[in-house]
Amino acid sequence: MLWDAFLQLLDLWIVAAALIGITTGVIIGAIPGLGPTMAIALLIPVTFAMQPVPAMILLLGVYQGAIFGGSISAVLLNVPGTPSSAATAMDGFPMARRGEGGRALRLALFASVFGNIFSCLVLMALAEPLARLALDFGPAEMAVLMLFALLVIVLFGGGSRLDALIMVLVGVCAGIVGLDPISGTPRFTFNSFAMESGFQLIPVLIGLFAMSEVFLQVFNRAPEVRADVMPELRSSHVSVAEMWRMRLTLLYSSMIGTFVGILPGIGSTVPAFMSYSLARSRSKEPETFGKGAAEGIAAPEASNNAVTGGALVPTLALGIPGDAVTAVILGAFMLHGLAPGPFLFEKNGLEVYAIFEALLFSSIPTVILGLLLFRAAIHVTRIQPRHLLPAIAILALFGAFSVNNNLFDVWVMLGAGFFGFLFRRSGFPLPPLLIGLILGHPFEQSVRQALLTSGGKFAIFADSPITLILLVLIVMSITTSVFVYFRSKRSGRDG
């Protein structure tokens, strides 16, 4: 079966489809605001005339490419192209600033490929049982898992925990605006219809990271950097040995990404930050994180790319998509006569395995394309900020608008930009705000759903083995961080 599927791939059209898909994805992903969902929706009509297998390879190539493309702008400009690459910017940008942009991009590329291959193998081997496992995650389990994720980001994300907590709460507060998830009543909308949709993630992201940079640079009025003092582009070589040293980080990050990807509704941003926090807390030199640590780039990249394979598990095995991107992919599969669901593997096994194998092998063109693209992209870091930032600002206006084709989102972006400026000036970390915004609404929804099904009894949060394991993890992470805090305080006094 696997061999027959492989033979299907030996076709010029399929290679062409993979190449076009990945390239389009990388480019669209790199533009702030345009993410995989839009890229795929854009290309679906193009695939109408194609055979099912090349069509799906094209679209899935776009999906993978877009997730990776977001990291290019995150590393080079400190402007994440997609929310999931915000974690990559934390160490990627400092490294690029040292003139090692090429190295940062290569680290990101190789880690992405690792994450992709890992999750793809999981998808091929375990789609059915893992989809069953995902179903065991009901509202109570999701609520406890999200609480754990929030805690990990606050405790191990680096910087002041108090500041991180404040930012998470600000994010949760921003997420409250809009319609209540359970009763559907408006909250803090000030009788405005536009506010009922709430603050969308992507406009807030663009505002916080891109627009605030414009304000910040206006404030600092960076003196013109002369060409000869610009950071020199340093060697971008990444050795196999270096990647090998990070094997455990890559493996854990990919596991987190794949696993969270399987669960509905969390997306790829949260696992990227969780992996970053894990890599930091496991590292022997956590103080290098945030200043251009190699593992700080590899961990979130492996993780957010691993989400793609994980998210396809319930989509294909049950016909239940976890988020907007996989919902669009589900529609595309159906249009090509490959209806996802319990019958997909029985009826269209050959095609599906061919598509999976293509996903695996697409790592080869991804690496080649990536390396070629970097040669050109890297020079972006040498453009003067005063020339680059106005262009980014105009792109930000466009990106925020394109989310819902709505000017309200552009206002949100602008507001987020100003607040981002204030927070960055004050030294408050922005990533926890993003996580709070992403998880606040679903967390509240899950808690209340769980209480509705249990008739208001809190026991439901300690009822199943899954919640018990998660609760133990929560207690463990709190005790570790308290322990580490006191130890570092004492050693600080001694030294």
């Binding site: 507060c173 009763s183 640079q217 404030f219 106005p390 466009f398 204030l422 000036r425 004050s426």
Partner: protein, 152 residues
């Protein structure tokens, strides 16, 4: 710890904490009127519970942040005229957005781009005018006809 006599200094983090404290208190204040509860027979917690709890938490922790970092000296607020420049850019963005429904995306984006370039310290006329023009036109036509985003 070098404990000299601590006196309060309005630093940037302190200012932001005060801002957050005040906004969360205002949020709690208006929560009752901004969140209506229809009794559809659903029990506690209702639509108001979580927002109020989160706002109280935010208020408490912002206050805690203020108290704990009382004598902190780092990141002063900075020169006022710099904020003036930031506000000019912000104002330009607001004007640009305001005008978009009437005059379209292009004029607004170009105007905003020019103000931002000037504020960033560029003075050469060719770059001040040319750069935003080229970028805005590329984005507009690329977005509208390339990927079908109906920009105003």
């Amino acid at each position: 710890m070098t404990s000299k006599t601590k006196h309060f200094q309005l630093t940037m983090p302190a200012l932001t904490s005060i801002l957050l404290l005040v906004s969360s208190l205002v949020g709690i204040w208006i929560a009752d009127s901004e969140i209506q509860i229809f009794s559809f027979g659903d029990q506690w917690p209702d639509a108001r519970t979580v927002p109020v709890v989160v706002l109280w938490l935010l208020a408490a922790i912002s206050a805690l942040r203020l108290i704990l970092n009382f004598g902190e000296q780092k990141t002063p607020i900075g020169p006022v005229h710099r904020y003036g420049q930031v506000f000019i850019v912000l104002l330009a963005a607001i004007i640009a957005l305001w005008s978009m429904p009437h005059f379209g995306f292009l004029p607004g984006a170009i105007f905003f781009g020019i103000v931002a370039t000037l504020a960033l310290g560029e003075r050469r006329p060719l770059l001040v005018l040319g750069l935003p023009l080229i970028v805005a036109i590329t984005v507009y036509y690329g977005g509208r006809y390339g990927i079908g985003v109906p920009l105003p």
